[in-house]
Symmetry: C2
Subunit: 210 residues, 2 copies
């Protein structure tokens, strides 16, 4: 371990997510600060609708601490985007779903139970926790490469931590956030994965980092 | 460990990547097989140009074994897309870069040295292996959350395995493949990361899974 890990990894700062509405699009180059223009708002707790703050949408954001999930629509509905610490200068930085680009973030909430070091998840072949199962405690960019049969997961039980699973390998496509402190960690059918879930297709899974 | 890990994780199959040119776009739903229409070709070694096989482009693909990297242009040029085992029914499944969607894959090669269990990488603050450094052997969806200062990496040295780093947190944006058996594992400036690299911006890094 090098000097970059000498301090505690998760410092006890308050959760903060900084947003800025930007008129223009980000250009490639060193001038990436260009993306963080416009009106700014700092969030330290969940926000069911940025519209109430006078934002039409959020175009760029910085996660200063904690892990967050952003939603396409108000009230934590629609597509889900996991937002870990770092800079997202334009919509393409937080959207990983190119087929149905929402291009908007309307609500946010922190992911309270993310724990990169102690995360345990059981995946089941069928809905309602039936069929073959697999126990996960690491990141899997390809479930099939690890021996999982097929491109679907029927249901999940989160024992600890927070996870994000994705439709395609390498964490691409629709994202579904799975947390131990929501639904008692039980996600027994794709209808419980989020309002945007339409299939059981899941090909990659990883822990959320806080 | 459950029964899903009872066999060897990497079975000794030949590397194979199956491609199909598709006329239409994939539709959401259970009918995802729709994506794998058209002419088919199975690759078991690098392919510098699918044009020579009579494909205009590749619209959907299945990675049957091994890990691969697909390139936007012929001759392994342009945007890079890591392709691990699984199904990619349309361009949005393999593209994670929504700002500059290439929408095409023209050349492919296997990632020979991927080793999920023994991968070590040193990242440096500045080009030419200068400045602060960090030793990595795990996946980091957010380098900043792990204590790395800023949104850039100046240079890399790959000790073992193969890695993919990404412009934005959560493995979004431009991807750069880093391998221990290319350039002797040395990537001393963004110009050596790939023909599409234009900045030092790197916010997430992970091992490639085989």
């Amino acid at each position: 371990r090098s000097d970059m890990f000498s301090g505690p990894i998760l410092e006890g700062t308050s959760m903060a997510l900084q947003c800025a509405k930007s008129a223009g699009h980000w250009k490639v180059g060193r001038g990436m600060e260009e993306g963080f223009q416009g009106r700014r708002h700092e969030f330290t707790a969940e926000c069911p609708s940025v519209l109430e703050l006078g934002f039409e949408t959020v175009r760029s954001l910085k996660v200063l601490s904690g892990a967050w999930v952003g939603f396409e629509h108000a009230g934590f509905q629609g597509q889900q985007y996991v937002l870990e610490r770092g800079e997202y200068p334009s919509w393409d930085a937080w959207s990983g779903n190119t087929a149905y680009p929402a291009e908007r973030l309307t609500s946010f909430r922190p992911v309270a139970c993310a724990n990169h070091r102690d995360s345990r998840l059981t995946i089941f072949e069928q809905e309602n926790f039936l069929g073959r199962k697999g126990e996960l405690s690491d990141d899997y960019p390809s479930l099939q490469a690890m021996g999982w049969d097929g491109n679907e997961v029927g249901s999940f039980h989160v024992h600890s931590g927070a996870w994000v699973c994705s439709q395609f390998p390498g964490y691409r496509g629709f994202q579904y956030v799975l947390e131990c402190d929501h639904h008692s960690g039980d996600y027994k059918h794709f209808r419980e994965w989020g309002s945007h879930a339409q299939t059981f297709q899941v090909q990659s899974i990883r822990r959320i980092q806080q």
